[in-house]
Subunit: 263 residues, 2 copies
């Protein structure tokens, strides 16, 4: 990456999902250098025994865990402890950047489990913690080490978790934790590099191919286009129209029209 003519450098944690690949595309359209971090799936990747793979852009590899638009793909083994994942990410990113720093770290990785306390509850809580909090914590650690002063850290919450979520209890309290975490990160003594902007995206339902397939009869006029969100993310990453530090940015779509409300 050194000496290149990119407009910025960013890392997208969860770069293959609907929102993540949307971010990667939008950053590439803005001529940024982009790293995608995703979950390594042993059945998909051919490298036996590999636990952390840094794949430089390689058009021939198309799998569900690699984003071919990204300049670099980092695949992590989520069966390892968070401490192991942290040190492997640290090593991989440090070696990639080789002294350079990132302008933005965007974490859109997460998972959803429906259910109240009677539905394999303790198991669901552990899964939601690992799928939602771990990526947020790891992205934050990456930001603390490799973000430029004045850079951006963007996390992902959920508008639903601003109130009770009795139909998705474990999901709700993990997202709520990410909201409060964002508020703490937005404080000058959080430990992030000077003048970092930390924001959290709070979507409702995204208008994605998968959601259209899973809910074929739903009214999509209230679903938020991912592009609406990713355009804003890139704008903020460039330093334009930034919300206040620690903001929770709600996206509400009605009649195909999206508005944001900032908490």
């Amino acid at each position: 990456m050194a000496g290149s003519n990119y407009n910025g450098y960013c890392l997208v944690y969860g770069g293959v999902g609907a929102l993540g690949s949307g971010c990667v595309s939008q950053f590439k359209a803005a001529n940024w250098w982009v790293v995608s971090v995703e979950v390594w799936k042993p059945t998909v990747e051919p490298d036996e025994g590999a636990t952390l793979i840094v794949l430089h852009k390689h058009k021939d590899i198309v799998s569900q865990t690699v984003n071919v638009e990204a300049d670099v793909n980092i695949l992590i083994d989520t069966s390892k402890s968070i401490q192991n994942q942290e040190s492997e990410l640290h090593e991989a990113i440090g070696s990639l950047l080789d002294g350079s720093l990132l302008d933005a770290v965007v974490c859109v990785a997460g998972g959803y489990i429906q259910g109240n306390i009677n539905s394999d509850f303790v198991e669901s809580c552990e899964r939601m913690w690992v799928q939602n909090m771990w990526p947020s914590l790891l992205a934050t650690q990456i930001a603390s080490k490799y973000l430029k002063a004045g850079g951006m850290l963007c996390l992902t919450g959920a508008k639903a978790a601003l109130a009770s979520t009795p139909h998705a209890i474990a999901y709700g309290f993990c997202k709520s934790a990410i909201h409060q975490f964002t508020k703490s990160l937005g404080h000058p003594v959080s430990g992030l590099p000077k003048d970092t902007l930390t924001v959290c995206l709070l979507p409702v339902t995204l208008d994605t191919v998968m959601n259209r397939q899973m809910m074929p009869n739903a009214d999509v006029s209230g679903w938020t286009p991912t592009k609406y969100i990713t355009e804003l993310v890139v704008k903020w990453a460039r330093g334009e129209d930034r919300p206040a530090n620690g903001s929770l940015v709600q996206f509400v779509t009605q009649n195909f029209n999206t508005d944001i409300t900032i908490l």
Copy 2:
């Protein structure tokens, strides 16, 4: 316990700490049958190889993990997985109750770590999750199985976590998760027994022996006496003056005078 003349049956999760032992005393003063659940410390307890110990009231055993006022002490091994702890607790409590049900489950177990994201952050997050969320989740699972209709589940949050907590980031987001969890549990479809009251205690600083020792020069006029809180807990457990289901109950003390605010 069967056939006894107690006014009620309760379980206090974390029954040896300042707030927990206060709850046990208050429930005993009201002539309730009380189980204390605490962390088993291998260096303290003599039973070698024991992982879950149910000790019926035994005045001879005095250790930091046994509450001698409680009718029964259950000691859990927190080095085990949450799933293991859950099934061991389930077995122990089911056998103790032998078909009876509890009127109240009160979880006051928790832990605190100061620090922003630069202070062994990932490690702190794991510890705060295990020390604060696990007891709340396990107490909730006990309530779901052994609480009477119309019983009470009381969890413990922190007033500080209603806003940002940049000086105690991991602690703050875990307590915030407990707040949102309480809101979900307060909903009729949460999965708790019919008409359960779920509330969450949000203290600031408690006036305890340990806090007075640790902060000898502090102004204690803003510290909340544990008795103020435990008297209310017992009142609610008896069905008197209950706040709305899902309430976050803040305790704010000024000039030695405590007021509650309900969110």
